[in-house]
Point group: C2
Chain length 378, copies 2
Amino acid sequence: MLYCEKCGQKVADEALLWRCECGGALACDDTGFNFNPNPKLPGIWRYASSLPVACPETPVTLGEGMTPLAECIWDYGRGKAAVKCKFDALNPTGSYKDRGIAVQITRLKELGLKKLVEDSSGNAGAAMAAYSAAAGIECDIFVPAYTSEGKCVQIAAYGANLRRIPGTRETTTIAAEKAAESVYYASHNWNPYFPQGIKTYAFEIFEQAAGVAPDNIIVPAGQGSLVNGAWKGFTEIARSGKSSATPRIFGVQSANCAPLYEAWAHGEDKPRVIDKKDTIAEGIASASPVHGEAVLKTVRESGGSFVAVSEKEIWESFTRLASMGFYVEPTSAAAFAGLTTLLREGTIKPDEYTVVFLSGSGLKATDKIMQLRANPPE
Amino acid sequence: MLYCEKCGQKVADEALLWRCECGGALACDDTGFNFNPNPKLPGIWRYASSLPVACPETPVTLGEGMTPLAECIWDYGRGKAAVKCKFDALNPTGSYKDRGIAVQITRLKELGLKKLVEDSSGNAGAAMAAYSAAAGIECDIFVPAYTSEGKCVQIAAYGANLRRIPGTRETTTIAAEKAAESVYYASHNWNPYFPQGIKTYAFEIFEQAAGVAPDNIIVPAGQGSLVNGAWKGFTEIARSGKSSATPRIFGVQSANCAPLYEAWAHGEDKPRVIDKKDTIAEGIASASPVHGEAVLKTVRESGGSFVAVSEKEIWESFTRLASMGFYVEPTSAAAFAGLTTLLREGTIKPDEYTVVFLSGSGLKATDKIMQLRANPPE
């Protein structure tokens, strides 16, 4: 059963609405979910008791989840800090989006869906194309024309209908919503099942550290699904009585597109209307996050904050990560640029237990990385 | 302690020789190793009791191993077969080579190595660059000029000195061996530690299927390290008394470069001297496999065989895999092309338990995949 986050209206899954009639976003009622891992099931499906699917034993799966929690010594310029990386680029399509899309597509298949439309800056589009292919669901994927070549080729190879839309990320969304007048709009940003899959990364971090919650989790934040996922996961663990601690959650934005950071810096409750500029962190170039208000509230409740980082800082973090063996897309490097800021300003102490999230593979951004190596941001 | 596979001479690890003075390849004496997983250690390091390193608690690691064993229904034209994919593209640098290189670099670091040279068709080079970076070892990587752009950018990003050599894979090896006159030659094809890491994939397949050995394992075969790895792993499991069954092992080669298949087809013990042609399966384009004789012997002992597949068959398998959600490099697709052949000729039955190995990520081969989509092999 779903409910509207805005008006509270209850909606049956079977209605296959992408949002409430009032315009609000739909969410799963997850109050009955209980963190209770089943080690016999693979990947994210070991958390079946926390997922909104009828038959978790027969999911649409490509092997998502149980990505490494790797160790890393980070030099932040004034010292070094031992942190852990949740290396979620190592999911089947190369990004963390697989967690959410696997749950979303499994549920949509159960509900009998045959065709969908999605818009994405690239990673969610690749995930949607892959899982739709695995489920036998036809899909149209709209991406901004500036999306990395690697992501576009990948989406097309899965057999999806790829539509490259000139203009901003927001223009792409408008085009997809137009197409969705006749086809189910599976937008991961609106979808109620997607966040339930994303939260599994928090469960894994908890289990991989033998049942210890981190002091801090640092994630790249565009729409803020990783912020909400961490909070959802750790509050569910707390509710199950397995841990009383929850981490502080830090969302990192590109200074060139920072509606959440700007709101935070001004003590506001809603994302700021911003004048968006280009950023190499294409995965978090979201000017109008759908759940922005909830994301701001979550970060506040967790005791964390938002950070904005420059293009130069993102690129420097990319090169430093690569020189340590972690090859990620620039969006992921933004999280480490944020770590540097948080360590320097003393918000995070080097001896705390901090997990930094690596969201997508560098292999998806070969063309961008070549350009950036030739012409680094100044 | 190492020994020469050719003359039997014992060699101390500390000598840091890349091969025996007689020209033979060195191997680890692994008779004392015992399959005895330690679930408290992450990834491949849970098999510490089977690895030739002094301190497996402090490895050079990026989170390698414990990749998914995903399910897949394969249409082979005359029916369908349920098989499992070992999705080893989901290792830190995007290929299975990380298993071997992680062990190799961990051991070389323990031995005090500061600089190395390696040659590779791309995947091992990327792995070597990444783990050398993580270990603080300087490295020069020689690759054939035809290597995918994605692999080259990745190798350079890790901070390795990338050398692109015009000509064949073999020309690249000659250039590397020349450079190795003054620097340690870490060639994964010759290295004695590398195969010990590769075998961990067999351990994982065994554990992920709750202690059941497959009837068949199908791997792409160039040098044959996956053939040897499977055999080494499953015989070690058998020796430990945990299972009496060992799988039949099938090595798949491109018909355009098939020295092992040609030898097999002619009932010979040594790789054939072949007239090598270009293949889209660049990862198995090895005309003169270093351990070829041992690889042929292993396949025979296991009860398996070799298969050669055409460019067209490899590409068709690539597109079919992608249409099921598995986006791999063409080399990996060769293994599924081999599965089709083996099922059609009745060597493998659809109801047997078969595991097919997916060795590398499609994200590494964006440029090649674009070209192939525009001009598919005929």
